[in-house]
């Protein structure tokens, strides 16, 4: 064996719905019209929440906000494929995924209002709160997927992170743990081409992010992240395998159409031309064309959706503002430990006194 090939790998890329709305019949997921319309409405709801949040922030009524604009298909398509008891382990840009999992939009706004109330885990929900440290949460998902396996339960942990996150050692450690323990985990990487200002080429010399799975001996696949049906399809398959103890990395190739967060000005590092190019590839538009051309969505229904979304978000904003009025600073002492130690009790008295 002087010089021989000992291992071979390849990365596949999947697209179910082409850029101009043509479906590939082999890859089309079997979803009812109602489900397709649900996907559509979820994407619209997320988009509108983001838009309203940005304008609230601009008026000084909200803190830093990280919009998912342009990434709705990646998030909604993947989260929609999950079972009720599957775990979601998000990063900080997952409004669309969270809405899909049933998170009330006012909670997302609470989070952006700097309130821990927005990070509460509703009773019985299998979820982690948003994770600010880039790349840190996939390890939690690896641990969950491992723990569910130890306990012989079928639940899968789905975690979200970005292209930038893949440079953090933690993400690689998460893949590797998942591989070793047959963790019931699906790693959804949203490759939106930017980590704040940093382009993918400055982030890694790897051609694809899906290939990062190879290092851990787990499978990786790429999917057009602006194709909600393709994402759904690929993640559905990944979930099925993960439920059997085969963890998987799914790279969703998409684009962050908006600013990194409301504190960011992308004009410092990318040009309008590129942004326009991706406006044309907007995931909601693509899906809408498909729905319309296949007679699933008509004008009336579109307006209905828009109105419902509008009023939901408006209500959520009201509700968020009301909650924000009640913030009690003393809460910061209450949830540090199960039982407040005497020393901290003293500090609370100091605070209140």
């Amino acid at each position: 064996m002087p010089r021989e090939t000992v291992a071979e790998f390849s990365v596949e890329s999947v697209q179910a719905l082409s850029e101009d709305g043509e479906i590939d019949e082999d890859l089309a997921p079997s979803l009812s019209d109602d489900q397709l319309l649900e996907l559509y409405e979820l994407m619209k709801r997320s988009r509108r929440l983001d838009e309203r949040a940005i304008s609230l922030q601009r008026r000084g009524e909200l803190g830093t906000y990280a919009p998912a604009i342009g990434q709705e298909a990646a998030q909604v398509g993947s989260a929609f494929a999950m079972a009720d008891d599957d775990w979601i382990v998000p990063s900080f840009r997952e409004s669309a995924a969270l809405l899909t999992r049933g998170t009330d939009p006012h909670r997302i706004l609470w989070y952006a209002l700097g309130m821990e109330e927005g990070a509460e885990i509703p009773d019985g929900a299998n979820a982690f709160p948003p994770s600010i440290p880039v790349g840190s949460q996939p390890l939690h998902a690896a641990g969950i997927g491992w723990g569910e396996g130890i306990q012989d339960r079928p639940n899968v942990a789905v975690t979200y992170f970005g292209d930038g996150a893949t440079s953090e050692g933690d993400v690689y450690e998460a893949f590797n743990f998942a591989g070793v323990y047959d963790a019931q985990t699906v790693f959804v990487c949203q490759n939106n081409r930017y980590a704040i200002s940093t382009r993918l080429a400055d982030q890694t010399a790897a051609e694809t992010l899906a290939q990062k799975a190879i290092a851990a001996g787990i499978d990786g696949v790429r999917v057009d992240g602006n194709d909600v049906l393709g994402v759904y399809r690929v993640v559905q398959e990944a979930l099925k395998r993960a439920r059997e103890g085969e963890p998987m990395l799914v790279e969703t190739l998409t684009y962050r159409r908006s600013m990194h967060t409301t504190s960011d000005d992308p004009s410092a590092y990318r040009d309008a031309e590129e942004e326009e190019e991706w406006e044309a590839r907007d995931p909601i538009v693509r899906f809408q064309v498909y729905l319309e051309e296949n007679g699933i969505l008509d004008q009336e229904r579109k307006e209905e959706v828009e109105q419902r979304v509008e009023s939901e978000i408006s209500e959520a904003i009201e509700r968020a503002k009301e909650g924000a009025a009640d913030v009690d600073g003393a809460d910061m002492f209450r949830y540090v430990y199960d039982e407040m130690p005497p020393y901290l009790e003293g500090q609370l008295q100091e605070f209140e006194g």
Partner: protein, 321 residues
């Protein structure tokens, strides 16, 4: 297990008992399985609990971070980090997530996990195998930091740590692993957050923990003064009162630890005494600690770690002030 054990045996038998007691307990870490741990603190446990004891890859961020996930699923993960300094590889997971998951989520997601690790000097090990960073961990709100000092204390505190509803960093003094055997009561819990008077006395209070405690007790036996020795046991959140009550009685205090002096726990304890017992103080609180240098390689390690002489000198200085 009213049997006699050394510290390492106390760890092992307590882990075994907890694995038996609660099927949600899982043990994992580098070499804890087939090899039974580099100090043999988990010997035999993989054989007895093959589905709940795991060797891990060499990845401490992974160990800490995955632990958060395990705990969230309802398990009670007990991780071993092979040596304390290697927690640093997972310090971000500890400080950014484990310590604050409860506060971040207003108590709706909690992480009952224990991270055990040998700490401190004394066995002439390699570089970075002898550090003491209890103060750095204590400066991270949300962590509970525990240091036992005898086999029975180890067992009682470890059991409480494992059953604790919040994350505990459990620092096992390496130097003590193989020192004396003593009787270890069965199914005994020692509440976290409570100091103990290891030896009552009148003239001066000495606060010491881990492997410094026995040294201090030895010195206390020999020295020409009545020394009250306080073992905080839980370094954070610290039971201030036991210490300050003692100082109110003695008027004098020495704090002993292996960690470097600057920003160490001796400074914290000095400040708390200063705050709560200022008018009782008849001498400055004395700090007998490691020097503000990296723990040297082992040829110079004994020059670094406080020895009986330095402790005695500190006590004398304080008593004679």
């Amino acid at each position: 297990m009213a049997d006699k054990y050394r510290v390492v045996g106390a760890v092992r038998e307590t882990l075994r008992a907890e694995l038996e007691h609660d099927e949600e307990v899982v043990l994992y870490g580098e070499d804890v399985g087939r090899a039974g741990g580099v100090f043999r603190a988990t010997e035999g446990l993989l054989d007895d609990f093959p589905d709940r004891v795991f060797d891990t890859p060499v990845a401490e961020a992974g160990i800490v971070g995955a632990g958060a996930g395990l705990a969230a699923t309802g398990l009670r993960p007990v991780a071993e980090i092979q040596f304390q300094s290697f927690i640093y590889q997972g310090f971000h997971q500890l400080a950014q997530h484990v310590a604050r998951m409860r506060s971040r989520t207003r108590g709706t997601l909690t992480l009952p996990m224990t991270i055990r690790t040998p700490y401190g000097g004394g066995i002439h090990a390699l570089e970075l195998h002898s550090e003491s960073y209890e103060a750095g961990f204590s400066h991270v709100p949300g962590l509970t930091v525990v240091v036992p000092s005898t086999p029975a204390e180890t067992s009682g505190l470890l059991r409480s740590a494992i059953r604790h509803p919040d994350p505990v960093v459990f620092l096992e003094p390496t130097r003590l692993y193989r020192s004396v055997r003593e009787e270890v009561p069965e199914d005994h819990e020692i509440p976290l957050g409570e100091s103990r008077i290891a030896e009552p006395g009148e003239d001066v209070t000495v606060v010491a923990w881990g492997s410094m405690l026995q040294r201090t007790l030895d010195v206390a036996d020999d020295i020409d003064a009545s020394v009250e020795v306080v073992d905080p046991r839980t370094i954070h959140p610290l039971d201030t009162e036991t210490i300050t009550d003692s100082v109110k009685k003695t008027g004098r205090c020495v704090v002993v630890h292996e960690a470097p002096r600057t920003a160490g726990m001796a400074g914290e304890i000095t400040a708390r005494i200063n705050e709560d017992a200022f008018l009782y103080l008849e001498a400055p609180v004395e700090r007998v600690t490691g020097y503000d240098v990296p723990v040297p390689f082992f040829a110079r390690e004994d020059d670094y770690v406080p020895d009986e002489e330095r402790i005695a000198e500190g006590i004398r200085k304080t008593v004679e002030f």
